[in-house]
Symmetry: C2
Subunit: 281 residues, 2 copies
């Protein structure tokens, strides 16, 4: 074996792609197969791989030799190394983190627990977002004159970030909170041309539910982020999202809710900008 033998998969891949056109027919055939089915090369036997690729075992060995390996076995090692070095899967990683958090005492375990909860929530929502609802919500919010943001207690941080972001995007918005106890008045200004983003999770803060009820009775459309279809918030909402946040030590992660909230906000900003551009042309 000379010194230029590819030792890692990426180098090997590049080498094969470079030489692709100067390779004899059957060798090229096995080369293509190898890049398309690297797992098969890693696990199979020379005979089984050759059969799958439609060539003779000897061709497979010639292929390896052309690349500078002294036989199929050494070529196969590269393909195995690739699988070995590939990081552990997302799920395993999470499971490990969660396990450490559960069994392990100590403060580090607490930290791991929160990271795991946040990751789990993100992972979950990433696969579950209903795109139609998402589009509906964006459309609804994009045409609102003022966006009211409603969330209490543990959901409040999300609301405050939404309000911050909407402000940055120059979208008129009103966070429903008032040190002076003027929430009811604030709500009474909302009209059907406005819209609400309401966020509440079980146990639903009574104030949030009550305010959502009032505001929906005024005909203001509500986009809700909540945790189940039984949520009282869902019944008042035009569009609602179910977000399952994992919790740790009694505190729910907000990461998935945050990601959704930010996506909604920025998407609304984009949609408005597009609409504005259209009107001008």
């Amino acid at each position: 074996m000379d010194e230029r033998v590819p030792r890692d998969f990426e180098t090997l891949r590049t080498t094969i792609l470079e030489r692709r056109h100067s390779l004899p027919k059957r060798i090229a055939q096995i080369a293509a197969y190898a890049l398309d089915n690297p797992d098969d090369i890693a696990f199979g036997t020379a005979a089984s791989i050759a059969a799958s690729a439609g060539v003779q075992p000897s061709t497979l060995i010639r292929f390896a030799q052309q690349l500078g390996f002294d036989g199929f076995t050494s070529l196969q090692l590269v393909f195995r190394e690739r699988l070995r070095e590939r990081n552990s899967s997302y799920d395993e990683r999470l499971a490990a983190l969660r396990a450490k958090a559960e069994e392990g005492a100590g403060h580090r375990a607490i930290f791991d627990g929160f990271v795991a909860a946040a990751s789990t929530s993100l992972n979950d929502i990433s696969g579950r977002l209903n795109e139609d609802h998402f589009e509906d919500a964006i459309a609804l919010l994009a045409k609102a004159e003022t966006i009211y943001v409603l969330a209490k207690r543990r959901s409040y941080p999300v609301a405050s970030y939404i309000a911050y972001a909407l402000g940055k995007l120059k979208i008129r918005n009103q966070l429903i909170e008032s040190a002076a106890g003027l929430n009811a008045e604030m709500i009474s200004f909302a009209s059907p041309r406005d819209a609400v983003i309401a966020i509440s999770f079980s146990p639903y803060a009574p104030a949030a539910i009550e305010e959502a009820r009032v505001i929906s009775e005024q005909g203001v459309p509500i986009v809700a982020i909540t945790d189940s279809s039984f949520s009282p918030l869902a019944q008042f909402a035009k569009v609602w999202f179910e977000v399952a946040e994992a919790d740790f030590a009694g505190f729910r992660s907000l990461s998935a809710t945050m990601a959704l909230a930010m996506a909604l906000t920025v998407a609304v900003g984009e949609k408005r900008r597009d609409a504005g551009r259209k009107r001008k042309t």
Copy 2:
């Protein structure tokens, strides 16, 4: 092979863990090795694995047979299948999400972008948390009479969640915000027996920095969460954490900061509970 042979890795794992204590010594030894080094089982030869685990090849085969396989080869298939089926790596997954977010237009891409940003941030902080600083911060906060929470603008949601959690844990705290413009007075009440959690990221909100300066001059110890050692917040802090939050569309993720903040809060709660218990006994 009877019908109860584990065909997937998880089942196999569970089976092994169940029987762990009823297995003969050497078999148990190889069982432990198998669960600790699944990749070696997938790729190695019976002889090489046996050598690494410090047993004879025949023991390895007996182990496989105990589990219902008819030999090492069929056991090995399960370990190989695991590698095959294992999802793409965490990094690959994130890269895919990010790529989709960048190239892809549409609103779904925005959502993916925020999820990717949050995941990246969590992943990053998970490996970088300095445990010594973490312990120091917890000790410092646990002995404070009142914990002041200071954060403005984009960091404010984190502060509000900390305040919520501290309240839930019955830890006296004060969020430094005042609609009536009384922040300066609020700060003046803080004493060296209190402590501050301050959060600020570039571009540092001037108000946050100024308040941190004043409060540190009063001798109140500060735990800071910020983004670099050049942060003006770091110079006022007794302990500080560097958190690198990924951003998307101009908005920074808060997921890592949130996780750290919650971990701090809960850890402080635990430490106080422990200390209280000790004093009583």
